[in-house]
């Protein structure tokens, strides 16, 4: 069973709806003790990095996620959920993240100068081999809506998108996955990604 973490700020319902459509058994939880019992975890996210990071700590999810990921079970972070996988973020004041993958989260404005920000809309991916992106082809468009980006080592990056500069679109480290775009809102291609993740669980 997959647990969707309800950090009380995400678009939880959309992810749940997509899993329901795919006939994937799942629960939405605000209880950290559910984590250890799960075969897969999804951390969705809309919100500012510091608010979300603080809530993960205060609610007790932080420790449970660390233990869970140490057992190499599949974990997927979506949008802010992907950004939270990294060491730290600057949105809403500097805060440390889950520190599961080395890297940090920075404001897109530092690198994107001539295009409108936030980065909102459908943008195409360039993909590498990945356990959850096997249904995605180079050039497929996914839906992005974000103002901050992940800066990490090339070895963890499995997809990029071009917005004047290359932006990290998906990351993977062992069984920890993160996508900057919203698979639950990206119609067919997006559902395919969630389905690939569910098969790992």
């Amino acid at each position: 069973m997959i647990s969707i973490i309800d950090n009380q700020m995400g678009n939880i319902k959309s992810v749940s709806n997509a899993l329901k459509y795919l006939n994937v058994e799942h629960i939405i939880t605000q209880d950290p003790s559910d984590i250890a019992l799960s075969d897969g975890i999804i951390l969705p996210g809309v919100g500012s990095f510091s608010q979300a990071a603080i809530r993960l700590r205060d609610s007790g999810f932080y420790e449970e996620i660390q233990l869970y990921c140490a057992s190499n079970k599949p974990f997927l972070g979506i949008c802010l959920g992907m950004q939270l996988l990294f060491d730290s973020g600057v949105e809403g004041g500097g805060t440390s993240g889950l520190q599961l993958i080395p890297g940090h989260v920075s404001n897109l404005i530092n690198r994107v100068q001539k295009l409108p920000l936030p980065h909102i809309g459908w943008n195409e991916l360039t993909v590498k081999t990945s356990k959850i992106l096997n249904g995605v082809n180079n050039g497929d468009c996914l839906y992005f809506v974000h103002g901050f980006e992940v800066i990490t080592d090339e070895q963890y990056i499995v997809a990029k998108t071009d917005y004047g500069v290359d932006i990290v679109a998906a990351v993977e480290k062992n069984n920890i996955f993160g996508v900057q775009f919203h698979p639950e809102k990206s119609q067919e291609v997006g559902l395919e990604i969630l389905s690939s993740f569910a098969k790992l669980c």
């Binding site: 959309s14 709806n17 997509a18 809309v46 500012s48 949105e91 809309g121 468009c141 809506v145």
Partner: protein, 249 residues
């Protein structure tokens, strides 16, 4: 490369889909879920759902309507109507919206934009502005275009960007429902002074209007009558944009 979006707008009066002219004369077009389902089968880039009576009636948009739509449609959804508190935003996002459109409250209480952006990130805060030309000046209105606001439109656009708006939805009320050609100058003026994406709405009568709105500086084009009352689909708009070298999905 980022694709320019074509976005159908679904207006509701609480429960039924409406089509308005200059935001006033109304026609009832049935259930929002049915209408949204049609757009979903057409793989539209995004959908905007606005409850135009919510603010006037002092309530917020019905959460079950959002839930019914997001339950079966896996596309980006922007929702607005009577959003006045951080709790309202949380509810709308929780029900499956990706972005929230704020109009009246953003004008009455500027600090609400700051609160929303701090809590949920600016990427989900769309400030929706209703514009009417009065004595050759673009003027800003609130309460579904019933109340004029004594403030310079362009100054206000820059201000909301500063406060934390992630996107602007510009509704040209003069053109609403008339399909009489959009006001390209309005779009151009606003695009010249802000760096956040602009969704331009009002007056689209043929697919080529969408192309010209993008060329005027909009990131995305939104329309309602065009899709309700003509044979044109969002795909036709995108074909015209593509022929004019505008990247679309």
């Amino acid at each position: 490369m980022l694709r320019h979006r074509v976005i159908p707008i679904v207006l509701i009066d609480g429960f039924s889909v409406l089509k308005t002219i200059n935001f006033k004369q109304r026609r009832n077009l049935g259930s929002p879920v049915t209408v949204s389902r049609t757009y979903n089968t057409r793989n539209v880039d995004e959908l905007i759902l606005l409850d135009i009576d919510a603010s006037k009636q002092g309530r917020s948009i019905d959460k079950f309507t959002i839930m019914d739509i997001s339950q079966e449609l896996f596309m980006p959804l922007t929702v607005g109507g009577g959003i006045r508190t951080v709790k309202d935003i949380e509810m709308v996002l929780k029900m499956g919206a990706d972005k929230v459109a704020i109009n009246t409250e953003a004008i009455l209480r500027n600090n609400f934009i700051v609160e929303g952006a701090n809590e949920f990130g600016r990427q989900c805060i769309v400030v929706s502005l209703d514009v009417i030309k009065v004595n050759e000046q673009y003027c800003l209105f609130s309460h579904s275009a019933n109340k004029i606001i004594e403030i310079n439109l362009l100054d206000f656009c820059m201000k909301v960007q500063e406060l934390g708006a992630g996107e602007l939805l510009i509704n040209n009320v003069d053109k609403d429902g008339l399909m009489s050609e959009p006001d390209f100058k309005l779009i151009n003026d606003i695009a010249g002074c802000v760096g956040i994406p602009i969704i331009a709405a009002g007056g689209v009568s043929v697919p080529n209007d969408c192309t010209r709105m993008i060329q005027a500086g909009a990131s995305a084009v939104a329309a309602s009558s065009l899709f309700h009352f003509t044979g044109y689909t969002p795909q036709d708009c995108k074909s015209d944009m593509r022929e004019n070298n505008i990247p679309v999905r």
